[in-house]
């Protein structure tokens, strides 16, 4: 029974670490796509490149919010 309790605690930590890893991958993919779109749009229309850069930063912050929500859940479930 003690073994089960220990295994339960270890499973919580393992789940938390796995969740944090998946959240990091999701953030990287999302923000990478935003960067790609901003650069491509800026390459097609250099006059509005500043506007695209600002929009990319703002949308990056929004996507980061979702991933940090996952990080929070992992911290709580640790």
């Amino acid at each position: 029974m003690i073994l089960q309790a220990v295994a339960g605690a270890a499973l919580g930590k393992a789940g938390a670490a796995l969740g944090a890893g998946i959240a990091a991958v999701a953030a990287a993919i999302g923000i990478g796509k935003i960067g790609q779109a901003a650069l491509e749009a800026g390459a097609r229309q250099p006059e509005k490149a500043d506007h695209y850069r600002l929009t990319a930063i703002i949308v990056g912050a929004l996507v980061e919010g979702a991933c940090l929500f996952a990080i929070l859940v992992c911290l709580i479930g640790k």
């Binding site: 930063i57 703002i58 912050a61 929004l62 980061e64 919010g65 940090l68 929500f69 990080i71 929070l72």
Partner: protein, 364 residues
């Protein structure tokens, strides 16, 4: 580039030289000493992390030679049996008991908070103490008020149309104009002037609190916007600003939207819209809280590397210290960007929500 490369190599050598020489000469002795001494304690990561980002009854600044340098803040509690008590947190800081109150130890239900032992058991009294977060909030609010009012002083003596401000008033005008022209005017719509005070206050409050959280010297360094109670209050303010002043059209869109009847009769769309009314401020709260807290914890973790490798030998410790310091400087610069960006995003989303709640219905 050749000159830059040479300067970089020289600086790196300067940083690494003491560690390498110490490692080459005395590593064996240090390891033996560390194994023998009992005072070489392990770093308790949980207590270290949560102690730095959490709340406390006194503001602990540093520890010099075992002597804690703390700013003792007042504890203001009201017990059901003995009435009001006001005393300095000096009396309870080491877990001692004072006038029937003590801080609950680790493992107890109210861990870290003030509890009272009365006949019926351990109970939590009405606690309105000035804790570290409350004191930090007061200091930061004072900074915001000073910043804005001193910036506005220029406009009383000069005609804003004739000349442009420079110096401190120029910075304040630059920030205010950027927020007003790029966010508030665009997103709120024609009656933006009613909501400008709230939105600009929200921006400056969040920005200054984020910045003060990065400064490690007292009175900066309290983790305020990384405290979910603060961001919850900010989200409540936006929630009230959006829903108290909503259009009739806004509420009609929530409860009886312009969709086919079978989506409205089983109240599917209205239910989704009502949930949406609450999830939008909720996401504002979580975004700001998680971003700032994650930044602080990452920075604390990078600095903790120095302490964690302290027992693993001098060479490893000095090398990792150099890496940790350089990475920490980079993280601090990133934190500056995050501080401004989170304030900007909060203000932008709040103004978008306010604008959406006051849209005129589209003409058929």
């Amino acid at each position: 580039m050749n000159r830059l490369a040479r300067i970089t190599v020289f600086l790196l050598a300067l940083l690494l030289w003491p560690g390498v020489s110490a490692a080459a000469s005395g590593e064996q002795e240090n390891l033996v000493l560390a194994a023998q001494s009992d005072t070489a304690g392990e770093l308790d990561m949980d207590e270290y992390l949560y102690g730095h980002v959490g709340d406390a009854y006194g503001w602990h600044i540093t520890t010099v030679n075992g002597h804690h340098v703390t700013v003792h803040l007042p504890v203001i509690v009201r017990s059901k049996t003995t009435g009001w008590h006001i005393f300095s947190s000096k009396h309870i800081e080491e877990g001692e008991e004072y006038e029937g109150f003590r801080i609950a130890a680790k493992g107890e239900p109210n861990e870290g908070k003030l509890v009272e032992e009365i006949a019926g058991g351990i109970v939590r009294p009405l606690d309105i103490s000035i804790t570290k977060n409350v004191f930090g909030l007061m200091v930061n609010s004072l900074v915001v008020v000073l910043l804005v009012l001193l910036g506005a002083r220029w406009y009383r003596k000069h005609d804003a149309v004739e000349e442009a401000p420079h110096g401190f008033a120029g910075i304040v005008e630059m920030l205010v104009t950027m927020i007003e022209d790029d966010i508030i005017k665009v997103c709120v719509g024609p009656d933006y002037k009613r909501y400008s005070p709230y939105l600009l206050t929200a921006f400056f409050f969040i920005f200054i609190n984020n910045l003060m959280g990065i400064i490690p010297l007292f009175p900066g360094g309290a983790n305020i916007t990384g405290n979910i109670a603060i961001t919850f209050t900010l989200a409540i303010c936006t929630f009230l600003a959006v829903n108290l002043f909503g259009n009739k059209h806004y509420y009609k869109d929530i409860f009886w939207p312009d969709v086919p009847v079978f989506l409205k009769a089983i109240p599917l769309m209205p239910l989704i819209e009502i949930i949406g009314v609450f999830t939008k401020p909720f996401s504002l709260m979580i975004r700001l809280f998680a971003n700032i807290l994650a930044g602080h914890m990452m920075l604390l973790g990078v600095v903790a590397v120095v302490f964690l490798t302290a027992e693993m030998g001098v060479g490893l410790n000095s090398g990792m210290s150099v890496i940790s310091v350089l990475f920490g400087v980079f993280m601090d610069i990133l934190e500056l960007l995050v501080a401004f960006l989170q304030a900007y995003v909060f203000t932008m989303l709040s103004s978008v929500f306010i604008g959406l709640s006051r849209q005129a219905p589209e003409k058929e």
